[in-house]
């Protein structure tokens, strides 16, 4: 028995699905549940869960893939940095395929730029230590899951006295975009499967405002198929009962108050800022910027590269897809001009993007 097989038991899944079907049969109209985490999106597809749920429940993917919501201008900025002499760009793998206005990091790498895929921001610090004559820039993209390790990397670089390490920061936070989506009168999200990794840092309590102010049920949910089905069942139960509260399905890892040490790291190095989300626009206090005390490690300030404002590719519907207004196959570019090998929009770029998941797993 593998470690996760307890969370993949077909008999338990069948029981959960029966319960969900019974409750869904009482709905006056179909309900829309949104997962706000790229890993949830992939897990839902990987286990074929959409096809198992009753027709009255529609699962849509929200802005939970950090690569997908990163604006094109940021990619252009990273591309400008990679062209500076004696510079090494370090990044998580997903970012290298994201098209900027003209080119991508993958293309620049093929043309000779020094771009390295790392598995942790600390690997980038180590690279800086071993390459004192080069500037090592880490692309700080991701939610509260990854931001604490980037904060740790900045502190480690400071302690080591490294003057050749910096971060191009585009970190974003939850649950601000979920609140923005809930405030949009054009959208109808009946419940959120709240992100698991992010919630382990910020805690389940972070979604309380969503449930009280917007009256939308929230369930912090794990990634195994039974986690997701139980999360759906808990949301459906709330909807049937006319309740809107935060529930924590993933209590084996997520605490109500989150991870205080990681939160302290975030607060020490970063401060909230307004941030632009690809597809969603500007959302107040939804980003993290490096505090003045650590500005030495801020690549944007250190190198001062400026790029022209970028426009979304013509015909791309990623913005509506990220809001759950459209499904991937509603986009005319899907599977035609826009594929994982030739991505046009953000949702197709990352392996965790909505369109990439649909392309990979959908029929």
């Amino acid at each position: 028995m593998t470690q996760s097989s307890a969370y993949r038991d077909p008999a338990v899944a069948a029981g959960l699905l029966d319960r969900i079907r019974d409750k869904a049969a009482t709905f006056a109209r179909p309900v829309t549940l949104m997962e706000v985490c790229g890993t949830h999106t992939m897990a839902i597809h990987e286990h074929g869960l959409r096809g198992l749920l009753p027709a009255g429940i529609r699962l849509v993917s929200g802005p939970g893939c950090p690569v997908c919501v990163t604006p094109i201008d940021y990619v252009d900025q990273a591309l400008a940095l990679c062209r500076l002499p004696d510079t090494i760009i370090t990044t998580f793998g997903d970012m290298v395929r994201v098209p900027g206005s003209q080119t991508s990091l993958l293309e620049e790498k093929a043309r000779g730029a020094d771009i390295r895929i790392v598995y942790s921001a600390l690997d980038a610090v180590s690279l800086a230590r071993h390459n004192p004559d080069r500037q090592v820039v880490f692309l700080g993209v991701g939610f509260e899951t990854t931001a604490p390790t980037v904060a740790g990397a900045i502190l480690q670089a400071q302690q080591a006295g490294l003057d050749n390490f910096s971060v191009l920061c585009a970190h974003k936070t939850m649950p601000a975009p979920m609140q923005a989506l809930s405030a949009d009168p054009d959208l109808q999200v009946d419940g959120y499967l709240c992100p698991a990794h992010v919630s382990a840092i910020i805690g389940a309590d972070a979604y309380t405002e969503l449930t009280t102010r917007y009256r939308v049920p929230c369930v912090v949910t794990g990634f195994e198929p039974l986690d997701i089905l139980q999360g759906v069942d808990m949301l459906v139960s709330q909807i049937v009962g006319g309740i809107a509260r935060v529930e924590n399905q993933y209590c084996r890892y997520v605490k109500n108050a989150g991870n205080p040490r990681a939160q302290q790291l975030l607060t020490q190095v970063f401060e909230p800022c307004d941030a632009r989300w690809r597809g969603l626009g500007l959302i107040t206090a939804s980003g993290l910027q490096i505090r003045a005390a650590y500005s030495f490690f801020d690549a944007a300030q250190r190198f001062g590269v400026t790029v022209a404002p970028a426009a979304e590719p013509l015909g791309c519907r990623c913005g509506e897809i990220l809001k759950g207004k459209l499904g991937p196959r509603d986009c005319p570019l899907f599977g035609q001009r826009c594929t994982p090998a030739t991505p046009v929009g953000a949702c197709m770029v990352s392996s965790e993007g909505t369109c990439a998941a649909e392309y990979k797993y959908g029929f």
């Binding site: 077909p10 890993t39 990987e46 096809g51 080119t103 990854t146």
Partner: protein, 337 residues
Amino acid sequence: MPDDIILLGHGSGGKLSHQLLDELIIPMLSEVETKDQNDAALLTHAGQRLAFTTDSYVVDPIFFPGGTIGDLAVYGTVNDLAMVGAQPLAISVGLILEEGLPKDDLQRVLESMKQAAASAGVRIVTGDTKVVPRGKADKIFINTSGIGVFAHDFNLTGNNARPGDKVLINGSIGDHGMAILASREGLALETDISSDSAPLNGLVEALLTHIGAAVHVLRDPTRGGVATTLKEIALQSGVDIVLDETAQPVHHNVRSACAILGLDPLFVANEGKMLAVVAADQAEAALQIMRSHPRGLEAAIIGEVSAASTGRVAMRTALGGLRAIDMLAGEQLPRIC
């Protein structure tokens, strides 16, 4: 995606590799059609059927748990011959060495090649050595070509899968690719994953001796992994293939490492595995033959060829859901969170 330069993804064994072959390399050099692409070329000369293949090895690191670039090169070429049903006869070795390579490393690689050739029962009969300036290669690149002969007239090529056939694999999926990834600098995975690099000609011979005509397709799922290889077979044969998720043999440590990095074992490279598409009434016999051979102890029936003919590959999940399996689009890249 730029179309004027070569990207790493063009060597991934997935869609970009196929695109490069179909649009540029094959039209320039050969008349073979996509549906006829196999692991080795089939030749006939003076009434004798021959198989001929070549492959290049550029793996980093050159030493890894379970093997070296040397035995990988020998086994890879032996396996390409075995997958069309040929008995490997002789291979050539082309060495491209980077200036500064320690002679001890070269000797270790050559010793592993010698042992690999002995264990596969193949002779290394000719070769070539070049040295390039430091930085113009990565330690050592190896090209091997091989020639094989046939003791039978079975057709095992990728266009031979038929509705109702069962799909078998001779053991666990993804070991080689994850062993390489885990041993690369900067990835501190505390695992004991070992490459599955091994010769498969003995196992093929055992299958063909006992149930020859029932074996319809053989293919080793190297770059691009099991998913890409099955997709190739489905397209070549014009059939659909449905896999059973619960039947996929994946070692726990490989599954865990893949989960951490956001990779799918089905797309990870193997170097000692083969997929066999076998007539349904002989599938159980094939399974027993595999399991009684040292290279097939963990063999499993992982899926079947369905009656549909759209070239699709699907996975029936443990919970009863269905998802599509496509070719690897580019390089598999670790996810961000």
